[in-house]
């Protein structure tokens, strides 16, 4: 289990990760979602030990990684920017990693390479971007990690390899009871494989909950009135993304939905519709609360 408590990382005056606390259980795929620059990669690099936090702790099974870096032998980080030696082949990289990861399994390495159709003797520099990513995932899984950190690891993979990778990761997670933290912009990918999702916004965790709990936890109302209505009539409802087109009003509600329905009932709409929010909509709702008036941007 990974426990991250009050983690903060600053780049000079800029705070990249601000007092973040999360827990990732064993046998769990944890999705880290957020805009560019939200702090996802920084977060993963902090966990991997590439960056040193300014404050906070990162524990694996109760062991603080900062003081016990040897615990990272149970962790593998697949970064967004992959690095292989200039003349490195998968085989030489496997040899390299096998020196540093005591659990590295050459048998698994060969099997996985075979599964992905990767030539282990060929120079990785000659691989396509997607193949390089597959190679890194193969190497990562061959280290038999208890914790696997994946940063945008599905980028560049074709749909078939993406599905294969997902299946592999889920199987590995189920088999080895490992924790996988995966960052991605693609919510659809995370929705069908993560059991937990954390939304990072403004360098903080905006939402952190189980995917199952998230579904139906938020909804959008679309109301039609006979006359123009003032938004004050919805006083008492904790709404977001309020939009009004005279007689037609829409907004989203994430808390006390039943109470909101009651208040809406009192306002007397001629038509009231309620839609559950998808993960992507929830993500957009959390992230896009800056109401730009795009029409004015170029005027």
């Amino acid at each position: 289990m990974i426990k991250i408590s009050n983690l903060t990382k600053k780049f000079d005056e800029f705070t990249a990760v601000d007092n973040v606390s999360i827990e990732v259980n064993n046998s769990s795929v944890y999705g880290l979602v957020g805009y560019n620059g939200a702090g996802k990669t920084t977060m993963l690099k902090l966990i991997a030990g590439v960056y040193t936090p300014d404050s906070g702790t990162i524990e694996i099974d109760g062991t603080d990684l900062l003081f016990h870096p040897e615990k990272k032998q149970e962790l593998f980080y697949v970064p967004d920017d992959l690095y292989f030696g200039l003349s490195a082949s998968m085989k030489s990289m496997a040899k390299f990693y096998s020196s540093y990861y005591p659990s590295f399994c050459m048998d698994t390495f060969y099997k996985l390479s075979d599964l992905f159709g990767l030539n282990v003797n060929k120079k990785i520099a000659g691989f396509s971007k997607g193949m390089q990513r597959q190679a890194e995932i193969v190497l990562g899984l061959s280290t038999m990690p208890k914790i696997l950190l994946l940063d945008e690891s599905f980028d560049g993979l074709d749909p078939a390899k993406r599905n294969l990778t997902k299946k592999l990761l889920l199987d590995y997670m189920a088999e080895k009871e490992c924790s996988i933290i995966i960052s991605s912009h693609n919510l659809h990918e995370l929705a069908d494989m993560c059991d937990h999702i954390a939304l990072m916004n403004g360098q903080k965790i905006a939402i952190n909950c189980a995917v199952d709990d998230m579904n139906g936890s938020r909804c959008k109302f679309r109301l039609v009135y006979t006359e123009n209505v003032d938004r004050n009539i919805f006083k008492g409802i904790d709404y977001k993304n309020y939009k009004s087109d005279g007689k037609i009003v829409s907004f989203t509600v994430s808390k006390n939905i039943a109470e909101a329905e009651k208040i809406i009932g009192f306002t007397g709409p001629v038509l009231a519709e309620k839609f559950p929010l998808s993960l992507e909509e929830i993500f957009l709702e959390e992230m896009e609360d800056t109401d730009y008036d795009f029409e004015k941007l170029f005027s």
Binding site: F11, V50, T52, P69, K72, E74, L75, Y83, P102
Partner: protein, 822 residues
């Protein structure tokens, strides 16, 4: 397998990987060293002692490339930098840091595994090559003694130390910088820090502390006992000789000094390893591949680079002001530091506006630090300036000065017009190692050796003189009573310790006190030695000349003076001169054996009396020994009779590029036509004969030679006269020194014209600035009556330029207080 034990495995893996990365250069180094070993062996196949006899001790054959230490050290320095770059370049790449730092290794393990991996192959390579070379030396005839092994260890450890220090320094810098450009620039800056610091301390010590010299920086810098500033050259110049020579010289012992460079490199390496590790441990990997974000490193390097620039500026200021910069120099130092610091931060800074603010914020701290150093050095460095041992502690005092021995000061830069005797002090250097003051110019390199005073009364007199120097304090050379000279005072105490103090400027009163030391027996004894050098047959015999009798000696004597045989014996003559410390060291050394000339005071035309016999030499030396310092330096114009010069040969003129007016074989010629010369020259020896020189006068009278002192010129031959104080000519405003002894000089009209046509300016350019000309015959007569050719020249004395109707010029001096200039 536990995580702990597997982390050892990881350390080993990284160590091995680092060795593999850096193995090429150690292999190359081994092959190069073995090449020289094999070279020795091949030549020793038919002659077991070939290498032994040629001194090919421990790769000493490397000298064929210009010196064992230089060439090999440069290679090992480069190897250290390259290997450090190979191992630590990963920190400049974000991609690579992702891989390395996410491994289950602590930063300590990463750092030390790489360090060890980079050191081990090269150390093994050198040690193994050293072992094979030791065997080779044994085969070549060297005895495997303790001395042999000590020297071998010294060579091997020297190379290891140089590589180790460079590799560790480069690694520490590279592990803590953002990119390769920063890494290389910062490594370079740190690498020369020792030299810069030594220069700074030397400069501060020399310029600010009374009684100190730049050459003596080693005394506070410990360089004499501990080679601290040159870790890239662990030998530090101590092994300037070939190893072979040291190997055979039983009296040359391998001391702590020899090991100090290696020890120093080791100590620095340990410190740098620790500092490098602390930096690496705290390293923020987000700086990888960026520019100017290695905060701590930037601060250190910006301070160091600014420090260099400020020191260099100070050097320039001190040099151009001849040490008169004082407080100005300090402020220029501070300003140069600030400007460089700002520029450096703007170039290497990440956020430039912020860096500018930081530079200004930190500057007061640096300023106060430098001010404190300035005050410490200026205030006498904790009693260094005022130190004088108790008289009863003193075994002897040695005083070295160009002005201590009559007519022995040979100060001239060249013979041009005789004005150059007022040398700038930059012409002098002090060699504490040999207790000499050296004066070098294009023509010569003179050494002024010290006079040792060991008699109680003489010690007291010398100490009084030293006390005067201390009491006068550090004075500027443009002070009203300042005169320039170099003086070295060296105490040897009864406990065996030595204390040296150096003075480059002093007051007239102090110099007058110095000149009275000529009256001591110790100086007179030195004159005796001087006599022996030139006239003692035994000295010639001792140096390999087969001289069966005095008659033969005289014949040989004649042969050497003949230009046809001159070169054949040149080397041996040089040896004689050198070994006895005679202050002549080039070809003209032998001029003492050449013809003797007599000149009137105006130096216009002389008379060649051929080879002077030993009676004349002895007469002159007897007189010099008997004369007092007052007679030497304070005689009146009427005391001066004429000038005896030894050597005005054609070769001398050719050497000087003056001309060939003197016939090649002029021995038969009695009248000598000179072109230009001055009394103070390294190319001739001249003596101003005064009435006090009874024996010389007697000799000249007996040989009917006194008439040749009479000038053929009268007052009517003089066109005009110009007068100027030394300060007006070349001191004070022109920032050069007024040396306290004057020598007259002469140029012919033809020579003046020749010089003008060749160089486009009057050689007497200094007097060119003096507009006032005296043409009144009465006044001219009175000035001529007071003029002297040689003597003490105070700042109130007048230098007089006499221009004759035929265009020739001579320069003489009118001593301070003379009636004609009152």
């Amino acid at each position: 397998m536990t995580l702990k034990s597997s982390s050892h495995k990881q350390f080993t893996a990284m160590f091995k990987q680092s060795m593999r990365h850096t193995i090429v250069l150690p292999v190359l180094a081994f092959m190069c060293l073995m090449f020289f070993s094999i070279n020795e062996s091949i030549f020793s196949v038919n002659n077991k002692y070939y290498a032994h006899d040629r001194g090919l001790f421990f790769w000493d054959d490397l000298r064929i490339f210009g010196g064992i230490t230089e060439i090999a050290n440069i290679c090992f320095v480069m190897a250290g930098v390259v290997n450090a770059m190979l191992l630590f370049n990963f920190v400049w790449s974000k991609k690579q840091t992702n891989v390395i730092f996410s491994l289950g290794m602590s930063r300590r393990d990463i750092y030390f595994a790489k360090l060890l991996g980079g050191l081990t192959p090269m150390v093994c390579s050198i040690v193994f090559a050293g072992f094979l070379e030791a065997l080779n030396c044994f085969v070549c005839g060297f005895d495997l003694t303790a001395r042999f092994f000590a020297m071998a260890a010294l060579v091997v450890l020297q190379y290891i130390a140089v590589y180790m220090f460079t590799f560790i320094l480069s690694s520490a810098v590279m592990a803590n910088t953002c990119n390769v450009a920063e890494a290389l620039i910062f490594t370079g800056a740190l690498a020369v820090f020792g030299t810069a610091l030594e220069n700074f301390l030397g400069l501060s010590f020399w310029e600010l502390t009374h009684g100190a010299s730049i050459s003596q920086a080693e005394e506070i810098g410990l360089s004499a006992k501990f080679n601290w500033s040159q870790p890239f050259n662990a030998f530090g110049g101590y092994f300037d000789e070939r190893f072979m020579e040291i190997y055979f010289k039983e009296d040359v012992h391998i001391t702590f000094n020899h090991w100090s460079g290696i020890i120093c490199a080791l100590i620095y390496s340990v410190i740098i390893v620790l500092l490098g590790y602390l930096g690496f441990k705290k390293r923020r990997n987000e700086i990888s591949g960026t520019w100017g974000r290695a905060k701590g490193m930037n601060e250190i390097i910006s301070a160091i680079v600014s420090f260099y620039a400020a020191t260099m500026c100070s050097f320039i200021i001190f040099d151009s002001t001849h040490g008169n910069g004082g407080l100005h120099t300090f402020f220029i130092f501070a300003l140069a530091f600030l400007i460089t610091n700002i520029i450096f931060r703007l170039i290497f800074g990440y956020k430039r506006k912020k860096e500018l603010k930081v530079a200004l914020k930190h500057f007061p701290v640096y300023f106060v630090g430098f001010a404190a150093l300035f005050i410490v050095f200026s205030a006498g460095l904790f009693g260094y300036s005022s130190y004088m041992p108790e008289k009863n502690e003193v075994e002897s005092i040695m005083i070295t000065s160009p002005h201590l021995i009559f007519m022995e000061d040979n100060l001239s830069d060249s013979s041009e017009y005789g004005l150059y005797h007022q040398n700038k002090r930059t012409k002098y250097t002090i060699s504490p190692t040999y207790n000499t003051i050296n004066h070098s110019n294009y023509y010569s390199n003179n050494k002024f050796t010290g006079i040792i005073f060991s008699d109680d009364s003489e010690i007291e007199k010398a100490m009084k003189f030293h006390k005067k120097l201390i009491d006068d304090g550090k004075i500027k050379n443009n002070a009203p009573d300042a005169v320039g000279t170099y003086i070295l005072v060296s105490y040897t105490l009864k406990d065996g310790s030595t204390h040296k103090r150096y003075y480059s400027e002093s007051t007239e009163k102090a110099i007058l006190q110095l000149l009275t030391l000529n009256d001591t027996q110790s100086v007179k004894n030195t004159l005796n030695d001087y006599a022996n050098i030139n006239f003692n047959i035994e000295a010639f015999r001792k140096h390999g000349f087969e001289i069966p009798s005095e008659e033969a000696y005289e014949n040989e004597y004649e042969i050497y003076s003949d230009s046809q045989y001159y070169d054949i014996h040149d080397d041996k003559f040089l040896n004689i001169s050198h070994d006895y410390g005679l202050n002549i060291s080039n070809k003209s050394d032998c001029l003492i054996l050449n013809d003797c000339y007599l000149f009137p005071k105006d130096m216009s035309g002389g008379y060649n009396i051929g080879l002077a016999d030993t009676d004349l030499y002895r007469a002159i030396l007897t007189d010099i020994r008997m004369m007092t310092s007052a007679q030497y330096y304070h005689h009146s114009a009427t005391d001066e009779l004429g000038i005896i010069s030894f050597g005005l040969s054609a070769s001398t003129h050719k050497d000087l590029g003056i001309g060939t007016e003197v016939p090649d074989n002029h021995r038969g010629e009695k009248a000598v036509y000179t072109t230009s010369w001055n009394l103070n020259s390294t190319d001739i020896k001249a003596v101003v004969v005064t009435k006090d020189m009874k024996n010389t006068v007697k000799y000249l009278e007996e040989h009917d030679l006194m008439k040749h002192f009479e000038s053929h010129r009268g007052i009517d031959d003089i066109k005009h006269i110009k007068l100027a104080t030394p300060g007006e000519l070349y001191g004070k405003n022109k920032l050069s020194y007024n040396l306290p002894i004057f020598y007259s000089a002469y140029w012919t009209g033809e020579q003046m014209e020749l010089y003008l046509s060749e160089f486009g300016e009057n050689p007497n350019y200094l007097f060119g600035e003096i507009q006032y000309e005296i043409t009144d015959k009465k006044k001219i007569q009175s000035l001529m009556d007071d003029s002297v050719s040689y003597g003490f020249c105070s700042n109130n004395s007048q230098i007089m330029e006499i221009t004759y109707n035929d265009g020739s010029i001579s320069t003489v001096m009118i001593p301070s207080g003379s009636g004609s200039i009152k």
